[in-house]
């Protein structure tokens, strides 16, 4: 049976992420009241695993690192069809940058054992670094293909994938075990279903902390992070807007005039 691990992250709802702002006085983050949701690209990663499951015997583990509240997004993944959920949660994991996150997740994948395939979203909507997948692959000594937009799974343990380029794609063959980070072009993720939620009642979420993973506290969280944020600041706008007023016709005419002045027309 093919063992797939899908790495997922709880992120502030991208639809409301604009409410998170930097306090101009204290230079700290004002988190607003933004709910945490499953990172959008991680839905594509899970969908990739679920689609492979329709064609062959597959066991899907969802792995997430986050605070205890992140269990809700793991539960959501179970309701979407994953078989097992693991939440890596420990105060010591807090404040991790991409490198420390990749290390912690890699240790989780290792403890879970014998992964044939690891799927990640290409990036998280809050961090947007794209580093976790490839860094984790390096730590697991697996090959990685990023920005995957098409997968042709083969039973013979070498998969063919297409990876997006700015102006085209690479077609590659990858020997398993391997890590793939996926784009939203790969598939259209399914939505939650009532029956899936009911089936998830019987599925459990395992929580692992620092001791369970058996890793040094120096290698995870803030302590294990090579990079740190030293400053946050607000940005002053240097432009001053001049509104073009009038009826719709007048506004359009004036805008055409403006476009002529700046040389567009």
């Amino acid at each position: 049976m093919l063992k797939i691990v899908v790495c997922v992250k709880a992120v502030p709802d991208p639809k409301a992420a604009g409410n998170i702002k930097i306090d101009p006085q204290t230079k700290t983050l004002l988190r607003g009241n933004v709910p945490m949701v499953l990172n959008p690209l991680d839905k594509n990663a899970l969908e990739a695993a679920l689609q492979i499951k329709t064609g062959m015997e597959v066991h899907i583990t969802v792995l997430s690192m986050g605070p205890p509240e992140a269990a809700s997004i793991v539960k959501e993944c179970l309701a979407l069809g994953a078989d097992r959920g693991i939440l890596l949660s420990d105060r010591g994991f807090g404040g991790a940058d991409a490198f420390a996150t990749a290390y912690t997740l890699a240790m989780g994948v290792q403890k879970n054992g014998d992964a044939d395939v690891v799927f990640c979203g290409m990036a998280s909507s809050d961090g947007a670094t794209e580093w976790v997948g490839p860094e984790m692959a390096t730590m697991l000594d697996m090959p990685v293909v990023t920005m995957v937009r098409e997968i042709i799974p083969h039973a013979d343990e070498a998969w063919e994938v297409k990876s997006a380029l700015e102006n085209g794609y690479r077609r590659m063959r990858v020997r398993l075990p391997a890590v793939f980070t996926v784009t939203r072009d790969l598939n259209s993720p399914r939505t939650l279903s009532f029956s899936g939620i009911i089936k998830a009642r019987k599925k459990t979420i395992t929580e692992w902390g620092l001791d369970d993973l058996g890793v040094s506290a120096e290698r995870v969280g803030l302590k294990g992070s090579p990079t740190i944020v030293t400053e946050m600041r607000t940005v002053e706008n240097t432009r001053k807007v001049e509104f073009i007023e009038g009826t719709r016709e007048e506004k359009a005419e004036q805008l055409v005039q403006k476009l002529v002045e700046v040389g567009v027309l």
Partner: protein
């Protein structure tokens, strides 16, 4: 301490229903509005999302969930399409008498198909001469050995032209006060859907007439005891019918509030969005108050029903309150939109038309008051 919180699982059901409504139903709304017909894509989507089997027990292929979950689903679907919520709510209205009063054989015959959407249900009680007072109906049966022969006509029947599994009520031709409830299906000759109505709102939800001419029904199709059919249909309408209208109304209330907030934040008057004007805020506050109050009434009634109690009176209060509130909210949402509120590309015009249909469905507000007064004075 009364616990007013939804469980984590119920919150997930809500999320699922919202995602479903927004991805599968929303894109079909324009088409339903244009044609006025039932969208087969919507029916298929409802079936695939298990929406038809929410309250059907698991042993018959349903989800075995409660009325709270049903209310959650209806509320979220109605927020996107009142017509779709109405269609779905009436499926359950047809299913409920089979669950509650059907023989084991009847349940096995119909419920699995109804749970997966292979079969579509409705209930047909209302006639030109009686709906809220079902004793006024004229459809009648005579007995021919073990069989029943039914003649008559039903009107204003939701899902009339799409349903193939229908709970009907008929009175005995010779014995006064004897009513029978039957389940009929597409394999029985002697009944057909006739006239299709064109409603002011809820376009995409089918309403029409059924006619029975020498419809022969075997004894096995009887729901409940012979002669006791009134109780069968009234139980379904009282709890499931009114409860379904509450979910439908709450969803419409929420939609009116959301569109109003959105528009009021964008429309500039006197150099500021109109949401800064107190007269607009007043309307938004009223909509919010009504929505909060309506939810408490509706979910309390559903909780009573889930706990096995009788909830038809509580649902009468909730049905009255929420359908009135939805009509108020739709009017206020249109008012906030000003001239735009008359333009069909703005969804509030649809809300207004849909709201008009909510009132009379499953018993008018006046009938609800009759029931509520009877309850208060009992």
């Amino acid at each position: 301490m009364i616990d007013f919180t939804f469980t984590e699982e119920q919150e997930m059901f809500r999320k699922a229903a919202r995602e479903f409504a927004e991805t599968m139903i929303m894109p079909k709304v324009a088409e339903m509005e244009k044609t006025g017909d039932v969208s087969q894509d919507v029916v298929k989507a409802l079936a695939e999302a298990d929406m038809m089997g929410i309250t059907i027990p698991e042993e018959y292929g349903g989800l075995g969930l409660g009325y709270t979950e049903r209310l959650i689903a209806l509320e979220e679907i109605s927020r996107v399409s009142v017509a779709t919520a109405m269609m779905l709510q009436v499926f359950a209205l047809g299913i409920e008498p089979i669950i509650k009063f059907g023989s084991e054989e009847t349940k096995k015959k119909y419920l699995p198909g109804l749970a997966t959407g292979k079969r579509l249900a409705t209930t047909a009680v209302t006639e030109a001469t009686g709906g809220s007072d079902p004793t006024g109906i004229k459809s009648s049966y005579t007995k021919d050995g073990e069989d029943f022969i039914v003649n008559g006509r039903k009107c204003f029947i939701t899902n009339s032209h799409i349903a193939d599994t229908i709970t009907i009520l008929a009175k005995a031709e010779d014995t006064p006060k004897a009513f029978c409830a039957f389940v009929i299906d597409e394999n029985m000759p002697g009944w057909k859907a006739t006239h299709k109505e064109h409603k002011v709102g809820m376009r995409g939800c089918n309403t029409g007439e059924l006619s029975f001419e020498g419809l022969r029904i075997g004894k096995a199709q009887l729901l409940g005891a012979e002669g006791k059919g009134l109780g069968v249909t009234m139980a379904a309408i009282g709890d499931v019918g009114r409860g379904g209208m509450v979910g439908t109304a709450l969803g419409l209330q929420a939609a009116c509030l959301e569109e109003s907030i959105k528009f009021a934040g964008q429309r500039i008057l006197y150099g500021k969005p109109i949401s800064f004007l107190q007269s607009i805020q007043n309307k938004i506050a009223e909509m919010k108050i009504d929505l909060e109050a309506g939810k408490l009434l509706g979910y309390r009634a559903a909780a009573i029903q889930d706990a096995g109690g009788r909830s038809s009176n509580e649902f009468a209060v909730a049905k009255y309150y929420t359908t009135e509130a939805a009509q108020k909210a739709a009017k206020m949402a249109v008012d906030i939109h000003g001239g735009y509120g008359c333009m069909e590309e703005y969804p509030v015009t649809r809300f207004w038309r849909d709201a008009a249909v909510l009132g009379p469905s499953a018993g008018t507000s006046d009938i609800m008051k009759v029931i509520i007064a009877r309850w208060a004075m009992s």
